[in-house]
Amino acid sequence: MSAATQGPSSLRPRLLGRTAVNAFVGLSVLYTLLPVMWLLLASTKNRDALGRSDLLSVSDFSLFSNLSDLFATEDGIYGRWYVNSLLYAVVGALLGSLISVACGYAFDKYRFRHKEKLFGLVLAGVMVPPTVLALPLYLMASEAGMVNTFWAVFIPVLFNPFGVYLGRIFSQGYVPNEVLEASRVDGAGELTTYFRVSLRMLGPGLVTVFLFQLTAIWNNFFLPMVMLSDQKLFPVSLGLYVWNSEAVTTPDYYPVVIMGSLLAILPLIAAFLLLQRYWKSGLTAGSVK
């Protein structure tokens, strides 16, 4: 077959190559999906069936007893952890993404001295590991009497420098300068313009930043571990960590940890499936530019 006449279609490999390609992609998909499948199946098994590792038998289906066990263990503290995680993650990501996108927008639309130096400082925030900040933050919180409170975790997670970076890129892409000019000519104030006009255009970008921050806060493990000792304030991640250490000596905890893990990944999977186009645009904005 002649390449020149066939055009781009001849870029496609032959049948054998095609089978190999699909086999490789299929294997990697299995690799990513099977552990989640295992979690799903394991959550329907009681402790004895787990030990026998016959996951596909339906004889001892105990999903519901595992669920009720989960919410009964240690006086139902798991429900409390779940609510805490939702508070830290949803409220934190909402507030944090509004703050970062506003700042990114200002970086894009206004001119001022030392702008790029300040932006460099923002980007430096992406690089500094949380552990470097954790000890001084802990000491600061302890000075302020805030260790072991909701705020000790909630305030630091609002800081999202990558959101500022994305906010600046989205603002360049979604909010034309002409719109701002028109609004100024109409005599609208700068902030009024931002909240009435620009923020609406930034909507999809805001959702993207929100989603990324939601994931980051839901995943956060180090900061709560440093700041919190009161189990009632724990997020799910830290709670499951503690329960897993119990499971090492008391295997009764295995089914609860498995059930608790399954419930903990549901909100994020739902969010990612529902908001697919947003995270994709966020990833591409971060990479292609």
Binding site: G7, C103, A106, G125, L139, E190, S287, V288
Partner: protein
């Protein structure tokens, strides 16, 4: 129509002020100029973020550096108030001569050497296959691969820990039936086991990044390559791969930054295997020094050293990519 540039001239821009000074600072009795209104709005939009930057970033970074040069001395038998004494580089000397810290660095270095090339090559290969046009169900494949990214690190670690644990894991069970006896949490296997957790969590994320970059490769370039008689494999390796190098640099850089901060997975595994001790990685060393041993000077010095390593390596990666870029650009 009037010009579309913002209504102020460049001369007015020059006497602009820093954004953090807030609205209305330079308010005068007469009506404010448009430029001042803009700066006011700019300040109002930026202030919340910069307040956060100051309180949860700049002050703590400064605090870490400060703490690393001081140590707490308790006079007498631990009675009386603590005194903070200037210690110079003593904490740094202590950290750098501590074999457990050096071995945590070595462990992380080995981890990076296995993990970073593995994930970068795998992710690029899968993205190229998805982009080749031969793969079916591209959207579904991408979505499935991305799924683990929605699984929190600690839960990914829990799932894999259980899949490594004999008696719980169908994998170990299956291997045993085939007379293969592997301890996934042994001295030599624990690091690859941790690498596997990280690959599982991040593979799809990087595939999506590479795939997006490949989709942005201009069609004419690919057609030209076909006209030149290149097959699909040669097109992929010699045309597509060089064009997505910026994405590759970004993937390597972010993976490196994250790898040096390895904490969650080994922390969880340390509950189940003695091979992972409480100072397995630099981050675990810092946690142990600060919150188990309450040696703040030591923890702060180790934090600063880790930070310097991260900055130096990121700088090296970006320099290396710039230098690698130059001859090619010159050739064009």
């Amino acid at each position: 129509m009037t010009a579309t540039t913002p209504s102020t001239s460049t001369a007015a821009v020059r006497d602009g002020e820093a954004p953090a000074s807030g609205p209305g600072r330079r308010r005068t009795p007469r009506k404010r100029t448009a430029r001042q209104r803009e700066l006011g709005a700019c300040g109002a939009l930026m202030t919340p973020f910069f307040l956060l930057l100051l309180t949860v970033f700049l002050i703590p970074v400064g605090g870490a550096v400060y703490l690393s040069f001081f140590s707490q001395d308790q006079p007498g038998l631990g009675f009386g108030p603590e005194r903070t004494v200037f210690a110079g580089f003593r904490s740094y000397e202590a950290v750098l001569s501590d074999p457990t810290f050096l071995s945590s660095l070595a462990t992380t270095g080995l981890y990076c050497l296995i993990y970073i090339p593995l994930i970068a090559v795998l992710a690029l290969a899968i993205a190229l296959l998805l982009d080749s046009g031969a793969a079916k169900l591209r959207r579904t494949a991408q979505l499935s691969l991305f799924l683990p990214h929605a699984v929190p690190g600690i839960i990914a670690a829990i799932i894999w820990l259980y899949l490594y644990t004999p008696g719980l894991s169908p994998v170990v069970d299956l291997l045993n039936k085939g007379d293969i006896d592997i301890n996934f949490l042994g001295v030599n296997t624990v690091l690859p086991s941790i690498v596997n957790i990280a690959v599982w969590s991040n593979l799809g994320y990087n595939v999506v990044i590479f795939y997006a970059a490949l989709q942005a490769v201009p069609r004419e370039v690919l057609e030209a390559s076909v006209v030149d008689g290149a097959g699909p494999v040669r097109t992929a390796l010699q045309v597509k791969v060089p064009l997505v190098r910026p994405s590759a640099v970004m993937v390597v850089m972010f993976t490196l930054i994250w790898s040096l901060q390895l904490f969650t997975e080994p922390m969880l595994l340390s509950q189940s295997t003695r091979v992972v001790d409480s100072r397995f990685t630099p981050n675990m060393y810092i946690y142990d020094a600060a919150f188990t041993r309450a040696n703040y000077g030591l923890a702060a010095a180790a934090s600063v050293i880790l930070l310097v390593i991260i900055i130096a390596l990121s700088y090296a990666v970006s320099r290396w990519s710039n230098r690698a870029n130059t001859p090619e650009e010159a050739a064009q």
